[in-house]
Symmetry: C2
Subunit: 401 residues, 2 copies
């Protein structure tokens, strides 16, 4: 199985067009509305936030994608259209109807998503005015503009795509995402659209998307919060002619492609976390089970003390141990082992004589690998997180202002 990373993002796969423009939802006048359209009605699947407070676009799209088909995805940034009640539903319906009319398609085949401030209504008239332009700009080269238009406090657009041969035929998976704040397991404040040109049945597509998300988007954390609007869509056009059957070698390759795109996007999300200056990967091994290893990795990755330590490259490995001990994973404190990079900082539950200078060095890299071995079993898991910096506080102390 050979995957090759390629350009093209959400339009890398055959059968998709995209565009992004500014509707003036954001005061900055940056692009804030994007459209991805398939040439035909195609197979579709999605995973949504598990937050109990969910925005109208989430409710509407869950129903629409339930049939396993979709034609278009309309996303706006700058306003989450959440806690807006029935008027919020009406706004989302109205916008998707208008897009459907312009594209001459069924409005039930239009999926929607919104991201931004919670509790405000969408500026619908302004958005309606710009929809003809958004549709007109649809093109195979529109992937970057679409990726730009879904960003909120993100600095960089996030795109990824891969291609591989399955049964001799070339097929592709590509996508775009937005992240930044509130990134946590269960995909907080992230939106993602993935497209592919394989041919696949909707139920299988949903299963594989779930697996790929669990292994990627659910392993990243910026601040441990969980959002009301998180959504990952995947649309499959079938235009490569490659068929993906359940349990086949082709399915295995396709899952690897899907996971690779999701993983690349997840990495970009954490890298561009609000105020992030460096990344930390927490690898936990030797837990009683994979689930306990994950609980332990999360406790470390979510700890504000660990994350501020990382921001300051402050050699305070006791904070990692404290987080490990606070997790629901059963440990034996006398067996605990912690590595910073290649250096053992804790062995048998006791700090080694690793120098502060070396620890500070390890903690000042752009990517800091931390390995925790609990030595009580064979369970393992990892989490990817970023530091908690002054910049995070600056951004979030005035987000709605």
């Amino acid at each position: 199985m050979k995957l090759r990373s390629i350009k093209g993002g959400v339009t890398a796969a055959k059968g998709f067009l995209a565009s992004g423009v500014s509707a003036g939802i954001k005061r900055s006048r940056k692009p804030d509305i994007s459209l991805t359209v398939a040439d035909d009605l195609v197979t579709a699947a999605a995973v949504f936030t598990r937050n109990q407070v969910q925005a109208p676009p989430v409710h509407i799209s869950r129903l629409r994608v339930g049939g396993g088909k979709a034609r278009a995805v309309l996303i706006n940034s700058g306003c989450a259209n959440c806690m807006t009640g029935k008027p919020g539903f009406d706004d989302a319906y109205r916008l998707s109807k208008e897009v459907a009319d312009l594209l001459d398609i069924d409005d039930k085949s239009v999926l929607v998503a919104s991201t931004g401030i919670i509790g405000r209504r969408l500026p619908v008239p302004r958005m309606l005015r710009v929809l003809p332009k958004l549709v007109k700009k649809l093109s195979r080269a529109g992937n970057r503009a679409a990726a730009q238009a879904i960003l909120t406090t993100d600095i960089m657009p996030k795109e990824a795509a891969v291609e591989a041969r399955i049964s001799g035929r070339l097929c592709r998976v590509g996508g775009m995402a937005k992240g930044a704040g509130m990134i946590a397991p269960s995909m907080a404040t992230m939106l993602c659209v993935i497209t592919t040109d394989v041919s696949i049945e909707a139920g299988l597509l949903r299963e594989l998307l779930r697996q790929a998300s669990d292994a990627t988007f659910n392993r990243i954390s910026v601040d441990g919060d969980m959002s009301t609007n998180d959504t990952v869509y995947v649309l499959a056009s079938g235009r490569s002619g490659v068929k993906i059957g359940r349990g086949s070698a082709a399915a295995k390759t396709f899952l690897a492609m899907l996971t690779k795109v999701a993983e690349d996007l997840a990495f970009l999300i954490v890298k561009d976390g609000e105020g992030a200056s460096r990344l930390m990967r927490v690898d936990v091994t030797g837990a009683r089970s994979d689930a306990e290893a994950l609980a332990c990795a999360k406790q470390v990755a979510f700890s504000p003390l660990v994350k501020t330590m990382l921001a300051g490259s402050d050699p305070n490995v006791g904070r990692i141990a404290g987080a490990v001990g606070a997790s629901s994973a059963k440990i034996d404190p006398d067996k605990l082992e912690i590595f910073l990079g290649k250096h053992c900082a804790v062995r048998g539950g006791v700090t080694t004589n690793l120098s502060k200078a070396v620890m500070r060095q390890e903690l000042s890299h752009a990517f800091v690998p931390v390995r925790v071995n609990l030595h009580v079993g064979s369970g393992k898991a990892w989490m990817l997180t970023c530091d908690l910096s002054h910049e995070y506080v600056r951004i979030n102390a005035g987000y709605a202002t």
Copy 2:
């Protein structure tokens, strides 16, 4: 039942002396070692951290206090004596033996506690040199010096005391605490010594201490982390002549006194949380159970997005709703109600037209009450937290440096 707040902290109750000096553990040369001594061997109880990584002083003191008696409490700040292995045990034994010899008491009646950086050995020779002075300085007026000497990144010493009449006789409860970083349920990075002059059996004292702690220290959060050294001690001298029997009216009054002192200390801990500029009390009502209400209150109080919003007085009530929806408490999103102070910001799951200016005003007070009514039951709980500020990041990005 009439409780009166009084001065005197850990020596307010009859039968106790205290002192605090500098042993040079802290580079700042601020006071860093404190001693509290009862006139006789007295009844004692404690609650300890539930972190699985526990410092040697915690292990040693749990065994010693298990017998229900103690005579002295030796606490140092500046070094947690944690993850120090057998040498860490030896250091704590050595120090308590020396104190016992100086006081001419049994070393098994000396309880110990340490707070500060994890993973470093105590500077024992320096500490031994200062112990005679620490013992010499013991006095009824030494409460403030003792309270000073247990601080780490705290700004203010934390003392509280109350008196009340039980069966016509005056009795007292008083104490001191240190908090600052890592404050969370299960009493993260807090130490506390409470003394009283009532006469009570150790088992009952332990039960009442547990109840008082659950209602106070376990309801506060600075950053959601949980420490390796947290300890609350209570010593009862019996010198007031007031006897506290199980299930009596006296026990009820004594519990109220204990809870009041713990509550005052808990409030001071959050108020002095690292970088805290304001407090937020999250009251959750209408949950299916008290346990679910507490889970919900914790999710809100621990959310970095809510805490940074509070730092900036940023009117972003959607973040509170997002945290509520992310909690394990079952909610009906369409019934959710949120108040900022007296103002309803969310009703029936929809944001009201409460102006940004009013919200900003409410969020800029020194004490911000937030009420969340889930309207699905009668469970209720509260949490007290502080904002997440630049100052928190500044302190924690360079703590060990």
